[in-house]
Amino acid sequence: MNPESLTALAEPIGLVVGFLLTLMVLSYIIGDNPLFRLAIHIFIGVASGYAVALVFYNVLYYQIIVPLLSNSSGSMGLVVPALILFAWLLTKSSTRLAHLGNPLLAFLVGVGAAAAIGGAVLGTIFPQVSATATLFDLESVAQEKLVGHFLSGLTILIGTITTLAYFQFGVRARGESLTPSRSPLITNVLAPAGEFFIAVTFGVLFAGVYAAALSALIDRLAFLLDVIRHFISFG
């Protein structure tokens, strides 16, 4: 059988396998059953195997070995240190030599933490604070959108403040005879308002998750119909 024939058969085989696996997953409607567990196991195994093959083929081979074999000066300057660090990091796999890889691991963790913190500060905190402040820049807003823009900005401001106040668990002693407690303003006003905003946020997130799940269900049902249509049209 030539490769073209195999390629031609791959599509109907893939459709059948996908069809069966989809039915096995949807069998969870009637409860946990071996078919559902088999489909889950197949999916995990295929994903892991594919990831290993991809990493070895796409990363180790084409990003380290091929540049090393190409013998280009620019690549050698990066690949040789990468190989040294790679061999050095392998010492972590040995319990006896694991301590030798600690400096390299510390370097990786340090660089990763620095990149994450730097990105969070410069890419999230400062821009978000600046964007929240600009909500009250009414001069740049058109006149017809002024009220809505202001209300949107006010809602964001109140939501941010009350949400932060909800997570304020500090207490302060208010008098010698009184026990330390939270501020009544926080306890009675801000915290409940923050709790409301948090609940709305979680509701929106759940709605997004449910919408995503419904989209996946519709896609699978559409796939089943397409497969059926495909085999029916062939029939």
Partner: protein, 679 residues
């Protein structure tokens, strides 16, 4: 005290006179045992002289039958006569001392030792005659001795030292007093035994001493002086030395007793008699006088051994005492048992080791044992009915969702109005950004979603990708997820098969594969994408193509589109690559899942993201803006119906829950009211 005419002692039956001491004719016949044994023990006496006092010199011509009766014999046979006459008689002082010893020893056999010592001390203190016995008439044997020169002229005793020829004239005067057995013995021993051995044997006539001697005024010499020569062997014997009272007890304890082996306990001083004869002769005479004339000093009185003179211990009646039943003292009465009862071996008392457990404790133990026994046994699951309320409810909800979806998918209807781009923030901006791309611009597309969200993401992003293909953009596909490259490959393959897509298969893309390293990989990709991802999945180096010339950083791309279902992934792209893109105002567009839309919307509101598309609704809106059909629009009716069904289910479930709760509360209240009404 024996009478004067008594020949034998009333107490000890010893002969009191020389006649009474006549031995039987035949040697050994009628002789006391000790004396007869003495004859036979002549051999033993050889060499018996004390080591300290040398034996008298042996004289070969000695013959007992011809010599005088030795003084030791005289002291034994004539006790009632004064024995010491230091001034007149030739009897040496030591002989008188010996006689005194003999006198003290004689009653010693009948009375206790302490009593004897008391006697001599009393006689010494009270009955001391004012005159010495020198005035008394010497006995016959002493008379005969007077006729002969003093035996102590020489070094040895007279009876030993005088030759036989010289003794011949004196023999008749003494012959009648010498017993026959002694004569014969003398004749035999003179030839067979050395005279030195005979000397101690002659002292074995002790019991003839009579206590009456004391009554005659002769001071009784205690037995302790017998040991005096031994104690003071290095000193010349003297009469004064006999009164060393601190050695009295020791001396008395060493007095030989008339037993068969008495020769072995013969005092040394007896052996020294011959050697010290001359000296003792003078010193003893002086000492004797001192004894007669002196009085017991006070210090000596103070040193009187009262305990020794004490009477015997009082009689103790032990008839009622217990008899020892075991041990080495078994059978004795009135003694302490060697093995007291505490040490007697006996069988140890057996104590029961059985616990005293109450019934309640037994019940608890049984319960605990039952728990432990059933712990290892697998507990069977409770048999649940095949069809439960929950199962029915789940099945009903599933059918309520699936059936409308299938029906709307099969019908291909347009029941629900698709969302407009104005209602979906970011969709119009996204469309405008893509629409503004120059033809053939390099576009970096990130497929960072999981296969589980492929249905939603592919439906949402298909219209965007179709729009990009319409712009003939050079697509470079990357992914920070291992499953991203295959999803990208599959989506592009699907787009090429769609009838709504381009007529010709779109080949103007390169899948660069997986980007490892997380945020560090993204940072490297933003800095130098060609160095981080030089090759495609097929192993092609695409960075030297004309469309990609001049791309050194991520900002050199015309556009960056991120397809992700995870808000964290979107945030990483925004944080790590966004600043680089801002250098050249390169737009960053996001096509996310519905669940990540609300989380990434603030970035769009803050203008960190220039275009946003979220979920199936965003894809449908994009298709609407783009004025082209797509998978999102085909799924929108089903999506709307499922949302409607879901809303109805949620509403009905809420109403049912509220109704059930109200019914339960109402039943509870009614029950309470009934209880209140019924007493």
């Amino acid at each position: 005290m024996n009478p004067a005419d008594q020949e034998n002692c009333l107490s000890c039956k010893a002969p009191l006179s020389a006649s009474a001491f006549d031995a039987p004719a035949e040697s050994g016949e009628g002789l006391p045992d000790w004396l007869s044994s003495l004859q036979g023990a002549g051999d033993l006496e050889e060499g018996l002289p004390s080591e300290e006092t040398p034996a008298p010199p042996f004289e070969p011509g000695f013959d007992l039958g011809e010599v005088q009766i030795p003084d030791w014999l005289s002291t034994g046979t004539a006790p009632e006569e004064p024995t010491a006459e230091p001034a007149e008689g030739g009897l040496p002082e030591w002989l008188s001392g010996i006689s005194g010893v003999e006198e003290a020893n004689a009653p010693e056999s009948a009375v206790p030792e302490g009593e004897a010592e008391a006697d001599w001390l009393s006689s010494l203190l009270q009955d001391q005659p004012p005159e010495t016995p020198t005035a008394a008439e010497p006995p016959d044997w002493l008379k005969s001795d007077e006729k002969t020169p003093s035996p102590f002229v020489g070094e040895g005793p007279d009876w030993l030292s005088q030759p036989e020829a010289e003794e011949a004239p004196a023999q008749p005067a003494f012959a009648g007093e010498i017993p026959d057995w002694l004569s014969s013995l003398a004749g035999e021993e003179s030839a067979e035994q050395p005279p030195a051995a005979e000397v101690p044997a002659a002292f074995e006539i002790p019991p003839v001493q009579e206590p009456e001697v004391e009554s005659s005024g002769q001071p009784s010499v205690p037995d302790w002086p017998a040991a005096e020569p031994e104690a003071s062997s290095e000193q010349p014997a003297s009469g004064a030395s006999a009164f060393i009272l601190d050695e009295q007890e020791t001396a008395s304890s060493e007095v030989p007793t008339p037993s068969g082996d008495f020769l072995t306990g013969l005092p040394d001083w007896v052996s020294q008699v011959g050697a010290d004869q001359g000296d003792v002769d003078d010193s003893a005479g002086e000492g004797a006088q001192g004894l007669v004339q002196g009085e017991l000093p006070t210090w000596l009185e103070a040193m009187r051994p009262v305990e020794a003179a004490a009477p015997v211990t009082p009689y103790e009646d032990v008839s009622g005492a217990d008899v020892v039943a075991a041990g080495p003292l078994a059978g004795l009465r009135g003694v302490l048992a060697a093995e007291p009862d505490a040490l007697q071996p006996h069988k140890p008392t057996a104590y029961s080791i059985k616990l005293r457990v109450t019934d309640e404790q037994r019940a608890r133990v049984a319960l605990l044992e039952e728990l432990l026994a059933t712990e290892d046994k697998p507990k069977p699951l409770p048999a649940t009915p095949l069809i439960t309320t929950q199962f029915v409810l789940r099945l009903v909800i599933a059918l309520a969702l699936i059936l409308p979806i299938l029906w709307l998918l099969l019908a291909d209807s347009q029941l629900f109005k698709p969302p407009q781009p104005a209602e979906m923030p970011g969709v119009t901006d996204l469309h405008n950004q893509i629409a503004a791309l120059p033809i053939g611009s390099p576009v970096l597309v990130a497929f960072d979603y999981e296969p589980a969200f492929a249905g939603e993401m592919e439906a949402a992003a298909s219209a965007v990708l179709v729009h990009l293909t319409e712009r003939r953009a050079n697509l470079l596909l990357v992914s920070t997820s291992p499953t991203g490259p295959v999803l990208a490959q599959g989506l592009l393959a699907k787009l090429n098969q769609q009838p709504e897509g381009t007529k010709e298969p779109y080949r103007n893309y390169a899948n660069l594969g997986y980007l490892p390293g997380g945020v560090i990989g993204l940072l490297g990709l933003a800095a130098n994408p060609a160095q981080v991802l030089p090759y495609t999945l097929e192993g092609l180096y695409v960075w030297d193509q004309s469309a990609l010339q001049g791309i050194n950083t991520a900002a050199d791309f015309s556009l960056l589109l991120v397809l992700t279902d995870n808000p964290e992934t979107a945030r990483s792209w925004i944080e790590q690559v966004g600043p680089t893109l801002q250098e050249k105002a390169t737009p960053l567009l996001l096509a996310t899942s519905a669940q990540a839309g609300p989380m990434v919307y603030p970035y769009y509101a803050a203008r960190q993201v220039q275009g946003l598309l979220s979920g199936l609704a965003g894809g449908t809106a994009y298709e609407t803006v783009h004025a082209a059909g797509g998978p999102a629009s085909g799924m929108w009716d089903a999506f709307g119906a499922s949302i409607l069904v879901s809303s109805l289910v949620i509403l009905l479930a809420g109403l049912g829950s509220a109704l059930r709760k109200s019914v339960v509360v109402e039943n509870k209240l009614s029950t309470e009211n009934e209880k209140k009404e019924q007493p």
